[in-house]
């Protein structure tokens, strides 16, 4: 079982993740060509200006008004991306298979970053359950996406600390990671892919076409 989930399934997950993402982006761009406004309105300068104001925390008025959400959201997303990519245990596997490696985060810090992701998930869950606006636009899919995101980190945490049933948890952990990768291009987790584009377009329309700003 372990050989299967850590071998062929990893390949499959990455192929679907990368292929699916490329297809989604290609489909979006070709659909945008059908509209007469999207491409003529794009401007590199204003796209970058918008991104700079929205990927740096507190660099726009709205984030300044919502400090707690901003801090949690940034910490969550940064840890979500960096932890799996720079985790020593992941890099060891990569080194064994392909003999390539890169900088790793010390395990102690990675452990805390995992906790940050889990806390972030709890925070988002809490908002979904309590904020009336969010509640009103929440359905099963939103909880499912949250679960898909949280599971690799929860299982990763348990596996690292070898709290119980190490082998089983490890297999679940790998599977959860694979599910998340596969889900990214085909669910609303795709905001990971599209965020840059929607931001760039709105920034371009506001800046390049409408001579204003979007932050």
């Amino acid at each position: 079982m372990y050989e299967f989930v850590s071998g062929p399934l990893v390949w499959l997950a990455f192929i679907i993740f990368i292929g699916g993402s490329l297809y989604r982006i290609y489909k979006m761009l070709s659909d945008c060509k059908k509209e007469n406004v999207v491409f003529p309105h794009m401007s590199l300068k204003h796209s970058l200006a918008s991104l700079v104001h929205w990927v740096i925390p507190f660099n726009n008025q709205y984030m300044q008004k919502r400090p707690i959400f901003t801090i949690v959201s940034f910490a969550f997303h940064i840890c979500l991306i960096l932890t799996p990519v720079f985790l020593l245990a992941h890099l060891v596997l990569l080194d064994e298979s392909w003999n390539i490696s890169w900088f790793n985060i010390p395990d102690g810090i990675a452990d805390w970053m995992t906790i940050v992701v889990i806390i972030g998930c709890i925070f988002f869950l809490y908002r979904r359950l309590t904020d009336p606006v969010v509640q009103n636009v929440t359905d099963g899919s939103d909880y499912l996406l949250l679960a898909i995101t949280a599971l690799p980190f929860i299982t990763g945490f348990i596996a690292y600390h070898q709290l119980f049933a190490y082998k089983t948890i490890l297999i679940i952990h790998i599977l959860a990671g694979e599910i998340m990768l596969i889900a990214i291009p085909f669910t609303r987790l795709s905001h990971m892919l599209f965020f840059v584009f929607t931001r760039a377009y709105f920034g371009s329309e506001q800046g390049h076409v409408k001579n204003s700003k979007d932050w």
Partner: protein, 450 residues
């Protein structure tokens, strides 16, 4: 997803009620899919599939904030209750649903685009609600009063059923009025090759004619070469853009631009109106595939800024006391004229008290986006939902609110009235005409004055 709990007082709008009785589900399905397949593309799909349902847009919306955070007014809810359902059910919805869509998109959203600015992903929610308006308009589901203005555009090429002779009469009358201040002032009609074509919105000749007199004086004092058309094409307003009837919108915008081309002017200067600028500068040209207006368009704020900054108009006596200004969405947030408005306000006012929030973060007057044109049936909720901005006005302690936009002017008058603010509402040109210096040689001579 659970249905939104919606609490509204019942509103009778004959057009919506009759349309609901007439529409068939086949027709609805056909139109929804036609608009989505042929008139939208990657944007709509990406917006709907990128939205992570975080609800952060709610805090941006004055409807939501003014109605004690009633969830049914939040931008994301408006999208959930309209376009999400249409997409999910592939157009298989009933007439009552389309009626509710019109109510949401036409009467409970100003397309002010503040929510887009506060979405972390930059999802343009107002664009999606404009798509909903488009679908409603193609089905004939448009509030009665709004549709009436669209009929007026279609039949007369102006918004207010102004007849051709009334138009010319009004201009000549206002030329005479202007000559009371500056005897040599002229309102030149049909002057081919003039530098500037000045265009206004339908309500100016209909019931705000003094504004035409004001501009005649201002143009003379500034020494500008200008003209106005004597034919249809003088009206730069466009309610068809807001109902969703883009075919009529395009006719109106095309005639406006072609009139300027016929007069061979170098630029169009437009009166103090926000949506007219949006239509002439953006929505019209993009719908027609021109992308940009063929002749540059200058909004009144920018025009007055240039005149004051360059010294062509000098200020003799600044208006006294605290005065504030509304920031019209379509020329501030969506055209970047905020700092120029602050400049001209400071130039003519002794004590310009700025709104908080100001500039592109300022809230809508809640009349824009065609909502005020939906007429009396919808007025109560509209003014009630401007409570937030009424509090912002009150905090300034101003005696006058300047509104460089016609929609704002009417909307702010409603706010002042309902919330008993006791403030005056004026256009910028009304302040300027009082404050500016009229050079000696232009003033009426003593004996003529007597």
């Amino acid at each position: 997803m659970k249905p939104t709990i919606v609490k509204r007082e019942p509103v009778v709008d004959d057009a919506l009620d009759q349309c609901e009785a007439r529409l068939t589900e086949e027709e609805i399905e056909k139109v929804i899919n036609e608009v989505i397949d042929k008139e939208t593309g990657g944007r709509l799909w990406t917006y709907v599939n990128t939205c992570i349902h975080c609800g952060l847009c709610a805090e941006a919306c004055h409807w939501y904030l003014s109605n004690d955070r009633d969830v049914s007014f939040a931008p994301v809810t408006k999208v959930k209750d309209t376009i999400w359902v249409m997409l999910e059910k592939k157009g298989k919805v009933d007439a009552a649903f389309i009626k509710r869509c019109s109510q949401i998109a036409h009467t409970e959203c100003n397309l002010c685009r503040r929510c887009g600015m506060y979405c972390p992903f930059g999802i343009d929610i107002a664009y999606m609600l404009l798509v909903v308006r488009r679908i409603c308009a193609k089905l004939g589901m448009v509030p009665l009063y709004l549709q009436d203005t669209v009929h007026s555009h279609a039949a007369t090429m102006n918004q207010m059923w102004v007849k051709p002779d009334e138009w010319i009469d009004t201009l000549q009358w206002q030329e005479e009025e202007a000559q009371g201040y500056v005897p040599s002032a002229r309102l030149p009609l049909e002057k081919e090759g003039a530098e500037i074509m000045y265009s206004v919105i339908g309500p100016e000749p209909k019931f705000l004619a003094q504004l035409l007199g004001n501009i005649t004086v201002i143009m003379k004092v500034a020494g500008l070469d200008w003209t106005m058309p004597a034919t249809a094409g003088w009206d730069n307003s466009n309610m068809a853009m807001y109902s969703g009837d883009f075919e009529i919108m395009a006719r109106v915008e095309r005639l406006h631009h072609e009139t300027a081309q016929r007069l061979k002017v170098k630029k169009i200067v437009m009166g103090e109106c926000g949506h007219a600028f949006r239509g002439a500068q953006y929505d019209g040209p993009t719908w027609m595939g021109w992308m940009k207006p063929p002749i540059p368009i200058v909004h009144a704020i920018e025009f007055y800024y240039d005149l004051i900054k360059s010294g062509r108009i000098k200020i003799a006596k600044k208006a006294e006391g605290p005065i504030t200004s509304q920031y019209p969405c379509n020329v501030i947030r969506n055209a970047g004229l905020g700092s120029k408005l602050q400049y001209i306000m400071s130039a003519v006012c002794e004590n310009f008290v700025d709104l908080i929030p100001n500039d592109r973060h300022a809230f809508c007057c809640n009349a824009g986006g065609g909502t005020i044109n939906c007429g009396p049936p919808w007025k109560k909720l509209r003014v009630q939902s401007a409570r937030l901005q009424s509090e912002n006005f009150k905090r300034t302690g101003a005696h006058t609110i300047v509104t460089p936009c016609h929609n704002c002017h009417s909307g702010v008058e409603d706010i002042v009235d309902k919330y008993k603010l006791g403030m005056h509402v004026k256009f910028f040109s009304e302040l300027l005409i009082e404050a500016m210096e009229i050079p000696e040689h232009l003033k009426p001579k003593e004996e003529e004055a007597e």
